[in-house]
């Protein structure tokens, strides 16, 4: 059994129940969701082996120590490595345990996603699973390639849990050198919604792990608990606490913070069905489209609903958002989310292909936001959706310049004015303390080194001189400087923002037409 998780797995018991209910042909011995348990399960179990029989999962007991030494290589064991680094490069496997094989390998890989990778976490994780399975299968081939075993029958499975979605992948090697990686199962995890809270995990200084975990969404259930590599957190400890509180783990060694839900946090944790909009673009578009309480807004496509949540927050209490999404499944998911979050009154979502069939409203809105592959196809209909007797603002969001150019031509022909195009990016400055040594410090250090060398050559002679020399070699504490620096990599592009103004139809024009 090969298993991979992301940080969004939060309910161990539910996962196990679910997989058995959804895929009864897969007999799961155990789904393991954190390191402690992995160790426990593996060390405890005897060398029991359940033969692989067609589609059955297998689980084997292993001798952990031996496995670690025999099968893991130095580069594989990078648990202590910062997940924020080298995220996209190479083969990033956290731990590989494997068993002394009889027929098949047993390997476990544990993965975590960080804030920076949120935007492509899903696809990157899928890629990682594929890479890891490939590594595993290569090892098997290497070890058993010449022994007459029919490796074309070998199948390895990867389990991908992403928020409330579960996907099973299969890797096989029908011919030497040909890897077949495919999705064999996809389904939803049942969620018991009681209360929604956004939670942030943090680690105190004395624990080895220094990086923060990114925020994640937890659906609070009074009977449940949440496990991760830092510890076990009871949901019941959370209920009734103020936002901003620190919640310690069961063994008091770790803690997390309860965060008040905002659209910006939601943007960071929401399940991506599409590429989403991030805070800098959301903020700028909100201002240029003149959104405020009472604004009536048109949006298409809804996508994953990132911007929709921000718009709803800004136009409340008496504004309204009409949003259109042409993908039925996404529209359904978005509608459910809006309802779950109490936004059902402010947002109306319709599943519709607006480029083919136009919008279903006219003479209604103050602002239009188009995030479509071909926004020019929707401009005529968008124009009709504006309140015709007053100015309005439109924004077209496109990643490519060719789209922007075509959009501008159509906007111009349609009579929009003040056409402007921007790009907006944000970068972070990290703050540190650094010591600032002087040249005198360097000279003193060199002198001390020389003194040490001389001491080794003729120890008796220098013994009396020693205390003085070491005093000279001692450097005083250097002054510390609080500094800031930029990061090595930063976002280079999100999309081009094209804005234009809709002018009210004048009486002359009305009379003329």
């Amino acid at each position: 059994q090969t298993q991979t998780e992301t940080t969004t797995t939060n309910n161990y018991d539910d996962s196990k129940k679910f997989v058995s209910s959804v895929a009864p042909q897969i007999e799961i011995k155990d789904i393991i969701s954190n390191e402690e348990r992995i160790n426990d399960a593996l060390e405890m179990s005897a060398k029991e082996t359940i033969r692989n029989d067609g589609n059955k999962w297998i689980s084997c007991g292993i001798d952990l120590q031996e496995a670690l030494t025999k099968w893991t290589s130095k580069e594989d064991r990078n648990r202590g490595k910062d997940d924020g680094e080298d995220r996209n490069a190479g083969r990033k496997i956290d731990i590989i345990w494997s068993m002394k094989p009889t027929d098949l390998e047993f390997l476990l890989v544990n993965q975590w996603a960080t804030e920076q990778t949120r935007s492509f976490t899903f696809f990157n994780d899928k890629l990682k699973i594929a890479k890891n399975l490939k590594v595993i299968i290569n090892r098997i081939v290497k070890e058993y390639g010449g022994t007459g075993m029919n490796l074309s029958l070998l199948k390895l499975y990867g389990l991908h849990v992403y928020y409330n979605e579960m996907i099973v992948y299969e890797m096989s090697i029908p011919f030497r050198g040909l890897y077949v990686f495919r999705e064999v199962l996809q389904s939803k995890l049942p969620m018991n919604a009681v209360e929604v809270g956004l939670i942030k995990l943090s680690v105190p200084a004395f624990i080895e792990f220094k990086k923060r975990e990114p925020p994640f969404l937890l659906k609070v259930d009074s009977k449940a608990s949440y496990n991760n590599k830092f510890g076990n957190f009871k949901h019941s400890d959370i209920i009734g606490k103020e936002y901003g509180s620190r919640i310690p783990s069961h063994n008091q060694k770790a803690y997390m913070y309860l965060l008040y839900p905002t659209p910006e946090l939601w943007t960071m944790v929401l399940p991506h069905r599409t590429q989403i909009l991030y805070m800098p673009d959301i903020a700028f578009i909100t201002t240029v489209l003149d959104l405020k309480p009472g604004s009536i807004v048109l949006e298409s496509g809804t996508g994953s609903g990132s911007f929709s949540h921000s718009i709803a927050r800004t136009i409340a209490p008496h504004g309204h958002l009409y949003t259109y999404e042409f993908h039925e499944e996404r529209a359904k998911l978005a509608r459910q989310e809006f309802s779950d979050h109490g936004l059902g009154n402010i947002i109306s979502i319709e599943c519709r292909d607006v480029c083919k069939n136009g919008f279903s409203i006219e003479n209604r809105v103050n602002a239009v936001f188009l995030d479509l592959p071909a926004p020019w196809e929707a401009i005529a209909s968008a124009k009709a959706a504006f309140k015709q007797n007053q100015i309005g603002k439109i924004c077209c969001f496109s990643p490519c310049l060719e789209q922007v150019q075509r959009t501008c031509v159509v906007l111009n022909e349609a009579g929009f004015s003040e056409i402007q195009m921007f790009e907006c990016l944000v970068r972070t400055h990290d703050v540190h303390t650094i010591p600032v040594y002087t040249i005198s410090d360097v000279v003193a250090k060199l002198k001390a080194q020389q003194a040490k060398k001389r001491k080794r050559v003729s120890e008796d002679e220098d013994r009396e001189m020693e205390p003085e020399q070491s005093k000279q070699g001692e450097k005083s504490d250097p002054p510390n400087l609080y500094v800031s620096r930029t990061t090595r990599e930063t976002k280079g592009h999100t999309s081009y923002l094209t804005f234009a103004t809709f002018s009210p139809v004048s009486n002359e024009e009305l009379n003329a037409s």
Binding site: K200, P204, A205, K210, R212, E242, Y243, G244, R246, P248, Q252, K253, Y255, Y257, L258, L259, Y260, P261, E264, M279, A283, F284, T286, T287, D290, P293, G294, S295, A312, P317, H318, H320, H341, G342, I346, Q390, I391, Q405, C408, F416, S417, E418, Q420, F422, C424, L425, V426, H429, D430, V431, H432, T433, I434, P478, Y482, S484, Y496, T498, A500, S506
Partner: protein
């Protein structure tokens, strides 16, 4: 999460009847006694409080009667003709330019090429010839105009338009247009706060209706105007300032309704702190006062009650956010105001100087009252998008300032907390610098 958004949930059909204007009195019509921004062909913007039955001077572009624009919706451009009349013309974005055989190899720079003399142009202006006409004559008078490339021609016409055209566009004051007006004239007034940075401050602080915010605005009211606009009159904003009366002169350009201006409470720094020496207001029996004394007394009473109301509001705490754009040391501002911010609510501080925020960042980290402090910087570039001539603008803003944002946390004294004390952490920082282990500083939360 109960819907804190919809105070009055409206059905889809109800929305059809309501416009922004009816609900929030936000006017899309040019009204008298309101500010309007007038954009001139040169690109410059003039801010005017529009009065009925008068004229507005646009300098060399001429004057126009205010009555000719009052009552019209925003979105039209006007051309001045026959003295001071103004008529609506179409607002055109750009003209498509087809490529021709012409290139600029035969063009020689020589002022003699213009046959139309300066005097003749002046005469046409006096006669009240329309700006478009003048430009046409100027183009005709240019001896080698046809030899220019189409692009050069378009540029030439645009330059002449900037000089001779008598077209102006009334622009509706919004946060963006008012910011643009202030920033292009006197950026120092708003400490170089650029619009993308301002937008991010408002979004990071999650400014929305039915909430309450504390704002320290030393940018003439640019920031607090944004907050007031996003509150829409629901909830309130408390502005803390250093003068007798706050210097928020940018607010007037926004044409806020009474509902919105009523949502602004203000306090001076000296009033923020409880002073043992201060005396309570002496309430008198109003029926016993004479008329002139009564008027004075009522004014003083209203001032006192308003001040008291603002102070009580502050001391009650549990604010939904703290926004700062000030020249004063952030640490001191935070020490005074952080206790009034509710748990997990945002603190957002703006400065044009990064070093000021680096100091504030380290203070926040040490104070253990906030998590996830982050310093960000925004970059904004606009493009010229024209057929065959699309490229970024040649000159853009050099910087829009920096933002420090963090979230307030509570329960620091929780006995369950097993981490090191502030002193220990400080010692660790100082020690770590000598061992060149910078990772330790990252661990401080």
């Amino acid at each position: 999460m109960e819907t804190q958004f919809a105070e009055r949930p409206l059905s889809l059909t109800e929305h059809q009847g309501q416009s922004q204007q009816e609900v929030g009195e936000d006017s899309h019509i040019i009204c008298p006694d309101q500010f309007v921004l007038l954009k001139m062909p040169s690109g410059n913007v003039k801010a005017v409080r529009l009065k009925k039955d008068t004229q507005v001077s646009l300098g060399k572009f001429g004057n126009f009667d205010t009555n000719s624009i009052i009552g019209h919706p925003y979105g039209y451009s006007y051309e001045i003709y026959e003295g001071t009349k103004a008529k609506i013309i179409k607002n055109v974005a750009f003209v498509d330019v087809d490529d021709t055989e012409a290139n600029n190899k035969d063009i020689v720079d020589d002022p003699a090429k213009q046959n139309l003399s300066h005097e003749e142009i002046e005469r046409m202006k006096q006669e009240g010839v329309g700006g478009q006409e003048i430009i046409k004559k100027v183009v005709e008078g240019h001896s080698t105009f046809n030899k220019k490339t189409e692009y050069s021609k378009a540029k030439y016409i645009k330059r002449k338009e900037a000089k001779f055209s008598k077209v102006f566009t009334p622009v509706k004051p919004t946060l963006y247009s008012v910011w643009s007006y202030v920033y292009s004239n006197r950026p120092e007034k708003i400490r170089d706060l650029r619009i993308d940075t301002l937008s991010q401050i408002l979004t990071l602080a999650n400014v929305h209706a039915n909430a309450k915010y504390i704002v320290v605005d030393d940018v003439r009211g640019m920031l607090i105007s944004g907050v007031m606009e996003r509150l829409g009159g629901y909830g309130f904003v408390l502005g803390i300032h250093e003068h007798e009366t706050p210097n928020y002169d940018i607010i007037k350009y926004m044409n806020f309704t009474k509902k919105i201006t009523d949502s602004l409470k203000t306090l001076s720094w000296i009033q923020v702190f409880k002073d043992d020496n201060e005396q309570d207001f002496l309430y008198k029996d109003e029926s016993k006062l004479e008329e002139k004394d009564l008027e004075y007394y009522l004014r003083k009473k209203m001032r006192y009650e308003r001040l008291n109301d603002a102070r009580e509001a502050l001391w009650q705490g549990e604010f939904d956010g703290l926004l700062v754009a000030s020249q004063y040391q952030p640490k001191s501002i935070l020490e005074a105001l952080l206790p009034y911010v509710a748990g997990s609510r945002p603190i957002v501080i703006y400065s044009i100087h990064k070093e000021v925020l680096v100091d504030a960042f380290t203070y926040l980290r040490m104070s253990k009252q906030c998590i996830n402090p982050e310093i960000t910087e925004s970059w904004l570039r606009n493009y010229q998008v024209l057929p065959g001539r699309t490229h970024p603008e040649m000159t853009i803003s050099g910087g829009g300032g920096y933002i420090l944002h963090a979230k307030r946390i509570i329960n620091n004294d929780d006995p369950g907390y097993a981490g090191p004390s502030v002193e220990t952490v400080k010692r660790q920082i100082d020690k770590s610098s000598s061992s060149q282990d910078q990772m330790m500083t990252d661990a401080i939360e």
